[in-house]
Structure formats: structure tokens, C-alpha cells
């Protein structure tokens, strides 16, 4: 057994310990061991530390307590008339085959006490609780373990999405096209109920608006108004009694890096790809946002109900707020970020920058490639897990009101304060930025 498997088993033991053991639970545990080992191998490709990959593997399980409760109850109902003793297996069995008492087995294969002590010349191991584990491959006492060769290959998993943005959908009964010359005014796209896609067109100085409807009625076409400081594109008439399927494709010229864009959508999803703009603001009441390759000086996104998912963001300053939905960013370079989710989780992979991140009831998971400023993290009732930059030095100030705080650094680490739920100090010799994290009732882990 490898040390990984041992650690997975130890952690599962803790999760399973709340339930009275039965065959189904034991089998399920075996199943999970295999799954988690594979998940661990997958995460080890991108995570830099052992513990980190292990935590990620467990995080992807979801709420298995539901399954465990179910399995332990099934056994209870089935065995209702048998009380404590299972009838099929005798409690004591001494025969030529060996000696069996409860879960102690001594036979031709060796000696076994449940899954804790095994001496059979092949899978020899001894374990007590979750603090001592010894087998051929190594030993683990408390939190200390001895590692083995784990090979890791590079293989990035990511989310790819290809959306056709400039072709008419099959259901379209009407198409309305408008072209607006670019200027330094603010362009506001205000839709009540539509799918809106932003992309880069092939024009040099025109914004193109293509609207598609599944009913042909000119009243549905957008109104465009202009005043001294803004151009407002607002959705045309919208019948109250029935739904008009509406798709809007908005194209910006390639080098519109002074563009000031605000998109408001009450209901419907918004996507954006390959954009270079000055300001890109979004307000979505009910619908998700999906973005790819977006560059802007500033961005302010407010999503009330729906997820935010984006890959390839370059912003100097960005504020992302999601009230009811999770925020998942990949490859984000944001010098001054302010990202928060009220009821969803926040996950940022390959982050370069600094700023504030908070989650009220979901978890906060950051993988930081480089810090260019201080980082302030807050979670109310869940955990914070941060992968600090591999080579950069940093200060840290980590506190939890009721959970554990851990920082995974063995060398070059200095603590001003080091208790179970508060750790302050610095890593390396020349720390420039600070990772400040605070949770009310969860744990904090820095890898």
C-alpha cells in the first residue's frame, strides 16, 4: 500500500467513523479509495503539493454523508430482527481453516484485525486510529509522513467552449442588424430577456448589433438612443403573454481598447469572448456569464442569480460580485481584484495579481501563480484553501475563529504567532506582499 492510499484510508476512516460499520459501508469505502486515488493522481498533475492534491480529491466528492447515512440506514432496516449480531457470520469460529473472533482472523493467510492490523507477508500493516500507520511503503505518525516517488505528468484540464457568434440560429424568424460608430461614450446594452454574446467583429470602427427573434415583428427590434455621454441600446417591445426567443450578438472592432461597455440583462445568459476593451461592466439579474479571453482596464460584474465562469482574464481592476451562484475563473491576471460570492463558492486557478476575495457560505479556493499585491481573503462559514506562489516569498496573517489554520511550509518560515487557529509570520527572506485570510467557522489551508 502506498502512503497515498494510506492517507486516503485514514481520512475516509474519519468520515466513516460517524456511522456504524456494515458490509455496504465497507464496500463503499473500498470504492471510494480507488476513486480518490485516481482523483489524487489527476490533481497531482496541477497541484504542487501532496496535501493539496489530496484535499482537492476529497473536495470533488461532494456531500457523501448523504450516501453514508443512506447506506447505514439500509443496513439497519435489513437487519432489524437480528439486532446486534449478524446471523450469517458466526461470532467465534475455530476450525481447521483458522481462528476467527469478530474481526480478528488468524488463518493460513496470516493475522488480520479488521483493516487495522494485517500480517500476511504481502499487505503487512498496522494502524491505530488516524495517528499511526505503518506498512511496507512507509510510516506515518500523526501529521508526519514519509513520501514516495509520485510521478506526475503534465496534462491540463480546462473548460473549452466554442460558440458560434456570428451566424443566425436555426429558429430565427427575424434578423435585425444595427451598426454604431465607436466613440468615447459609454455604450449600454440593456436587455430584459435575451441571450447576449459579445465578440470581436472584423470592422475597424463599428460596433455591430445582430438581433435574432423567433417571431417576425419589427416592434421587437432594439431602440438606439444617444445623448452627450452615452449610447443606449435597449431591447424593443417585449410581449408579456408569450416568450419571444431572442439572441443578440454584439461585435466590437478589434482594437477598441478605450471602449466603455455596460451590459445589463435581466434574464438570460451572457457570453463574451476575445474582447479588448477599456471598461467591461455587466449586470445580470437572472442568468449566467461565461467569458473567454477578455482584456480590459476595468471590469465590474454583478450577477444576482447565476454562475460566473471565465477563462483568460486580464484586468487592472475588477470587481465581481455573485449573489447566488459560484464564481470560477481560470488564468486570471487581475492587479486589483475584488471578488465575492454570497451563496456560491469562489474558485480561481492560475491567478496573477492581488486584492480581496470573499465567500459567505461557499468555499474559497485560489491557486496563485504570482502575487503583485496584498491578498485579503474572507470566508464566513466555509473553508479557505490557497496555493501560494511556488517561488515568491510572502507574509501571512491567517486566523479562524473556530477552525484549524495550517500552512504547508517546512523551511524558511518564520512565525510571529503560531497557534492552532491563528498563524502570523513570513515565508522566505524577502517577503513583499501579505496573504491575509480570515474565516469565521471553517479552516484555512495554505499550500
Amino acid at each position: 500500500m502506498t502512503s497515498i492510499e494510506m492517507e486516503i484510508r485514514t481520512r475516509l476512516d474519519v468520515i466513516f467513523s460517524k456511522y456504524t460499520p456494515n458490509t455496504q459501508l465497507t464496500e463503499f469505502k473500498e470504492e471510494l479509495v480507488a476513486d480518490l486515488m485516481e482523483a489524487y493522481q489527476d490533481f497531482a498533475k496541477q497541484d504542487k503539493s501532496h496535501d493539496e492534491a489530496l484535499d482537492d480529491a476529497f473536495a470533488q466528492l461532494g456531500d457523501i454523508d448523504i450516501v453514508l447515512r443512506d447506506l447505514s440506514q439500509t443496513a439497519k432496516t435489513n437487519g432489524a430482527n437480528h439486532d446486534d449480531e449478524p446471523k450469517k457470520e458466526p461470532f467465534i469460529d475455530i476450525s481447521d481453516d483458522g481462528f476467527h473472533v469478530g474481526n480478528l482472523h488468524i488463518d493460513g493467510h496470516g493475522v488480520r484485525l479488521g483493516d487495522d492490523i494485517v500480517i500476511d507477508g504481502k499487505h503487512d500493516k498496522v494502524q491505530f486510529g488516524d495517528w499511526l500507520h505503518v506498512d511496507h511503503d512507509g510510516a506515518r505518525v500523526g501529521k508526519k509522513y514519509y513520501k514516495f516517488d509520485d510521478d506526475s505528468n503534465m496534462n491540463q484540464s480546462h473548460f473549452d467552449e466554442n460558440e458560434e457568434n456570428d451566424s443566425a440560429p436555426t429558429w430565427a424568424a427575424a434578423h435585425h442588424n444595427a451598426q454604431i460608430p465607436i466613440s468615447d461614450k459609454q455604450f449600454v446594452f440593456d436587455y430584459r430577456d435575451a441571450t447576449v454574446n459579445f465578440y470581436t467583429n472584423d470592422k475597424t470602427d463599428l460596433i455591430t448589433v445582430d438581433e435574432y427573434f423567433n417571431r417576425d415583428n419589427a416592434r421587437y427590434f432594439a431602440h438606439i438612443e444617444e445623448n452627450d455621454d452615452r449610447v443606449l441600446v435597449s431591447q424593443g417591445d417585449h410581449p408579456l403573454l408569450f416568450h419571444v426567443r431572442t439572441l443578440i450578438n454584439v461585435g466590437f472592432p478589434k482594437n477598441f481598447d478605450t471602449g466603455y461597455i455596460t451590459s445589463i440583462n435581466h434574464s438570460g445568459r451572457v457570453t463574451a469572448q476575445n474582447l479588448t476593451l477599456g471598461t467591461f461592466n455587466l449586470v445580470i439579474h437572472s442568468g449566467s456569464f461565461n467569458g473567454q479571453q477578455i482584456k480590459a482596464t476595468t471590469a465590474a460584474w454583478e450577477v444576482h442569480s447565476g454562475a460566473v465562469k471565465a477563462d483568460g482574464l486580464t484586468f487592472e481592476k475588477a470587481e465581481i460580485f455573485d449573489q447566488s451562484g459560484s464564481v470560477k475563473l481560470l488564468n486570471a491576471a487581475i492587479s486589483h481584484a475584488k471578488i465575492s460570492a454570497t451563496s456560491g463558492s469562489v474558485q480561481v486557478d492560475n491567478f496573477v495579481g492581488g486584492g480581496q476575495f470573499s465567500a459567505n457560505s461557499g468555499s474559497l479556493r485560489l491557486r496563485i501563480t504570482e502575487l503583485t499585491d496584498d491578498l485579503k481573503l474572507h470566508a464566513h462559514s466555509s473553508s479557505i484553501r490557497v496555493t501560494a506562489p511556488a517561488t515568491q516569498h510572502f507574509n501571512f496573517d491567517l486566523s479562524s475563529n473556530s477552525g484549524m489554520v495550517t500552512i504547508e511550509r517546512d523551511e524558511n518560515i518564520h512565525f510571529d504567532k503560531n497557534t492552532t487557529n491563528y498563524k502570523r509570520g513570513f515565508y522566505g527572506t524577502n517577503p513583499k506582499f501579505t496573504i491575509d485570510a480570515n474565516v469565521n467557522s471553517g479552516t484555512i489551508k495554505v499550500y
Binding site: 502506498t2 492510499e5 464496500e27 463503499f28 473500498e30 470504492e31 471510494l32 479509495v33 480507488a34 476513486d35 486515488m37 485516481e38 482523483a39 470533488q60 466528492l61 461532494g62 456531500d63 457523501i64 454523508d65 448523504i66 450516501v67 443512506d70 447506506l71 480546462h158 473548460f159 473549452d160 467552449e161 429558429w171 423567433n214 417571431r215 410581449p239 403573454l241 408569450f242 416568450h243 419571444v244 426567443r245 445568459r269 457570453t271 442568468g287 449566467s288 461565461n290 447565476g306 454562475a307 465562469k309 451562484g325
Partner: protein, 116 residues
């Protein structure tokens, strides 16, 4: 865009049956197949997956057996049964029948229908 749980919930079993109909598989691999088939748009966590496995196994739509991995932990493989395959076929027929109707119900407009 994320598929809402409410929208997909009724199809979880069919999704799993479709995957197992293409070959025996184990929990983590099924979860990965779901991610792949949905083009990374849908993530079914293992808790939900295992709940569905139990349900399908109880209904005799799938069976399971332990693999004979020589190293590492043993995997439990799930296999679709003949009855599971029948259920998959009828679920597909139901879906083919329902999808256009649901689509016209949620996007169609009354005026065109009323003129009939």
C-alpha cells in the same frame, strides 16, 4: 451557463445508463465521462453519482463486480443489465417524444397555435 439541477435531475439515471451501455465503468470514470460528454458544462459530484448507482442497482438496471487490479485499490465496476438496456431504450424514446413538445411549450407562442 450552468445546467440547473432541477432541469437535469430526472435524467441522471438515463445519463448513467447511456455511459454504462458503452462499456463497464467505475465511479470516478463515469464522473469523468459525464464531464467529457457535456463538454465540461456539467459536473455530477460523486455523492450524487453513488446515490444513483444504489438506486439503479436496487432496480436491477445495473450490477456491479470487483475488478482484479493487481496494484492499488480494487475498483468496483458497474455493468448495465438487459433490463437496464431496455429502460435506456424507453427513456430515449420518451425523451425524443418529449423534447420537441417541451421546446414548443416553452418557446412557442399562443397566436400561431390559436389559429388552428
Amino acid at each position: 451557463m450552468a445546467i440547473s439541477k432541477d432541469l437535469i435531475r430526472g435524467h441522471t439515471d438515463t445519463i448513467i445508463l447511456n455511459i454504462l451501455n458503452q462499456g463497464d465503468s467505475y465511479g470516478y470514470q463515469v464522473a469523468k465521462s459525464i464531464r467529457l460528454l457535456s463538454d465540461q458544462q456539467y459536473d455530477l459530484n460523486e455523492a450524487t453519482l453513488y446515490t444513483a448507482f444504489r438506486r439503479l442497482e436496487k432496480g436491477d438496471d445495473i450490477t456491479s463486480y470487483w475488478g482484479d487490479e493487481t496494484q492499488g485499490a480494487r475498483r468496483k465496476y458497474y455493468k448495465i443489465t438487459t433490463s437496464g438496456q431496455q429502460h435506456l431504450v424507453s427513456a430515449l424514446q420518451e425523451w425524443e417524444f418529449a423534447k420537441d413538445i417541451i421546446s414548443s411549450l416553452i418557446t412557442g407562442n399562443i397566436n400561431e397555435g390559436a389559429s388552428l
